[in-house]
Amino acid sequence: MKPVLAASLLVLLFSGAAEADGYQDFNLGLVSRNRQDWDATVKLMTLALSEPDLPPHLKVVAYFDRGTSYLGEKQFDAAIADFTTVIQLKPDYIEAYSARASAFAAKTQFAKAIDDITKAISLRPVYRPTYYQRIAIYTATKNMEAAIADCTTLIKMSPNEAMLYRLRGTTYRRNGNYDLAIADEGTALAINDQVAVDFRERGFDYAAKGDFSNAVDDFNSEIRLSVDLTLPYMRKGAVQWDWGKFADAESSFEHALKIQPQQKYGFLWLAITRGKTSTAIDSDMSQRFSASDLTKWPGPLVALFLGKATAGDVDSAAKRADAASQIGEICEAQFFIAEWQQIHQLAATRKFQEIAQTCADDAVIRPAAIAESNRPVAP
């Protein structure tokens, strides 16, 4: 048969046709899935799976993609059901175990999640992302020894990869093993000393063990490798503040605010540092933030220091936060309110030691609160 001539007989393939059969629904489902349109993917894959003519070789993927979409929609039970079907149809499908583990973890069924990831690892022991997934769950459940063991397995697999030493280093830190963390970050830097994040991580560890001098050195290296970024200056300033070197801290926060004048945390840290150095906040500071800037966290704290809100307003705003961010906001609210009370020589509502206990282990405020609780009380 001769090929058709252009425009003489077009075979139109209707994407989007309502009467599409299983294969067309499946293809449209793939397009939706790749657009991360989870709702449409669920509908289209459900339609495809209900069609008697969906080619059997596509069923596993149809269930898998629908499961992924349920996961995207936080319908974890439906996702688990679909991934379980995939595993029944194809017991060696590694991705299905990993995906089901994500759903179990979201439901805080961590033991089941670990079982699934362990199965996935057993099917392809060299595939690193699956270990990362297990390390994340071990870390979330504070099983740090197991997390460290997985990091060590990865390092044995690829001993010349700096990022794996960084990963184990941060895991050691979460376990309180600062010296081991510093050693791993040193190994990462020996492999490549031009990676800002490795200086940053080691800086955190030096700071955590109270070695502020080395911490500042590392944050200076991070600054050198990060062109015009605010956060390295903020990190350095926070360590100098913990160290009690308030004039240096003031300079660091001023640098941060030069780069990003509306950085709210930069403003807050500068404000409490100037409280220590008895320097007033620049008069132009209040012009930097619009009313709308001051509603979203940490805006209410900025409003407090600008005299546009009370401590009670800040307290209420922190308590209104959703569950995921409430602990962090309450910790920050208590700390900055206490600092504000010190500056204004008001009676403290809470002691810094108590405040530190309300903060998560990795909260930036926690070491600052501990530093404050260890400082001699001003006469």
Binding site: M1, P3, V4, L5, A6, A7, S8, L9, L10, V11, L12, L13, F14, S15, G16, D21, Y23, N27, L30, V31, R33, N34, R35, Q36, D53, P55, H57, L58, V60, V61, F64, D65, T68, Y93, I94, E95, S98, A120, L123, R124, P125, V126, Y127, R128, P129, T130, M157, S158
Partner: protein, 344 residues
Amino acid sequence: MTEQKRALKALFMAMIIAAAATFLPASAAHADPASQAGTNCSLVQLASLDMETQPDGTFAVPVALNGRNVNLLVDTGSQTSSVSSETAREFGLGIRNIGRVGQFFNGIIIYQSATIDSYKLGESTSKDGGDFIVLPDGMIEPSVYGMLGPDILQHYDIEFDFLRGKFNLFQPAICDSDVVYWTKDAHAELPVKFDGAHHIVTTVVLDGKPMTVIVDSGSSHSFMSWTTAKQVFGEDGKNPDVKLLTIARINNGRPVQIYSHPFVLLDFNGVAVKNPDIYVVADNYFPARWRDETQIILGLSVLRQLHVFVQYGKQKLYLTAAETNPPAIPPPAAPGVPAHPAGP
């Protein structure tokens, strides 16, 4: 000689060639089998491989690498066949740093290779191996071990039957024959050319505009650059119908802002795809050379709606809709060769 006998003879020749290839050095093994197969015009199927469709719509096929059965993605858009870093570790392959030799979409740089001793596609073809590039960690899913690229695919004629889940390999055609064996429905025939990496390059018409495309079976999406969208379709970024769809880490690389464009018709010389799903993205995500030589990367978002047959040797592309009516009389199948599947 009947068609069936010709097919049998050609199959026999193909089997001899395949068996011999196992013992030949790589250069000989890669010689065009057609040059040794006489003047037979029948389609000779060398392998019919099951497509293992991936969650994003790409697909892998079973390949024996160094004697071990694994799945490789079929990627007509890559430069060279590849294995993942994980596969290189698992197989104990020595990884060599060879400098920057190529780049995948989204700036994924390739700078390592490893040697594969042998590969085998299906039951009837076995080849000496060669250098495979090594993909960065985590670039492909754990169930997939690498990619089958144009360096291997170019030695066959290849057929993508997405509906039935079959990737078929044929002995390269040496003369014109009835390639579209799976249907008597309308089909399109397009001339193709191959660039230096044996990418399949052809011209299609998108909403009335002729466009140069690369047929990329390794890409789940189809892409056009903003420069092309501007030059050809006058897009200035202000068209309200062009919308930011999502931000995705394509190839596990940088986040890519993906825009949709309401294209209406993609015409392959008579076979057309309505409402083709072609994304518009920033130019810098395209490998540099592709920016100059092609306007659209035609991935599976479009290709899956088609049944595609590529003749590397004859430089032709045949297309029908994915779903077609079967021919009135199915072509005969040679013994030992998987029969051409019947239509739906």
